[in-house]
């Protein structure tokens, strides 16, 4: 029963991640269109950043799914461990790379597995404290830049971007806390999801209002 609930939570987690990936892809597309029109290189960097973020998110969804397929059929084998390790590094690196690109354009994750609590271990799937710290440091720069931009232009669109990057920063802070308090993992995922939703709202409003 408990295990069923955990699997349901994991499915929900992956659904949020997939939706976030689609939103990141939409932002990347918009930034690329803006780059095509203006030739402004920073828009190209922003587009690449969201593309990398989106690829990392989709990679995590596929990797986690594959991980559960393996442990569902063969148990926690060395192969499953390897998949988890690869996805952890790839996901964390993709996000950091994306944040570096955000920082340039605007000026998450492992637990030692135990056979006893495999589903529980999969919840904070892909949390590596070192990668989280690096992500937090880069995101602090990105948030400060978004804040300065907001105070400079004072538009609601800039405010949505500031909220989005702040949510991403919060998601990584919760990611660290998740290593000692598992509930923080959900706050982390929700913060990330809300950040991407904020960007989606910005994208829609910027396109609609004349």
């Amino acid at each position: 029963m408990m295990q069923e609930a955990l699997y349901a939570l994991i499915r929900f987690d992956l659904l949020l991640e997939a939706i976030s990936g689609v939103i990141a892809l939409m932002i990347s597309h918009q930034a690329n269109m803006a780059y095509q029109l203006t030739g402004e290189k920073r828009l190209s960097d922003l587009s690449t950043g969201f593309l990398v973020l989106s690829a990392g998110m989709f990679g995590r969804v596929v990797g986690t799914f594959y991980f559960f397929v393996i442990i569902g059929t063969a148990g926690l084998t060395p192969e499953a461990e390897m998949v988890r390790g690869i996805v952890t590094i790839a996901y964390g690196s993709a996000r950091i790379m994306a944040y570096v690109l955000f920082a340039i354009s605007t000026r998450r994750t492992i637990r030692k597995p135990t056979l006893a609590n495999t589903p529980l271990m999969a919840l904070p799937f892909l949390i590596d404290p070192n990668l989280e710290i690096v992500a937090i440091m880069i995101l602090i720069i990105v948030v400060l830049q978004a804040m300065m931009n907001y105070f400079n232009v004072r538009t609601k669109f800039a405010l949505y971007v500031l909220i989005a990057f702040s949510c991403l920063l919060l998601s990584h802070i919760f990611g660290i806390i998740a290593l000692i308090e598992i509930r923080a993992y959900w706050w982390s995922q929700m913060a990330q999801f809300l950040g991407l939703i904020s960007l989606l709202v910005m994208l829609i409003k910027a396109g609609r209002e004349t």
Partner: protein
Amino acid sequence: MSRKKSYRSKVRILADMMRAIQNGGDEGTGPTRILYSANLSHDRLTQYIEELLEKGLIRVVEQNGSSRAYVLTAKGMEFLREFTKIERFSQAFGIDI
């Protein structure tokens, strides 16, 4: 925009000119008004007006017989709408275009 800019991209200059033309309404906007609104030299103005005409973004309307005035075409209005969206998007991330 309140920020000082040392450089305006070509697309920004064209958009500034088109906004000046749009503000003139159906009667059209003369070159002098475009020149001042978009902050351009006479040579640049002539060059960019030719380009806008070639691309079908503006058209000439006669004003008081001999003097020329310009209005936006449907394509020009669509371009300006798209540019405004992109401008808001870029500005939201602190990117000047």
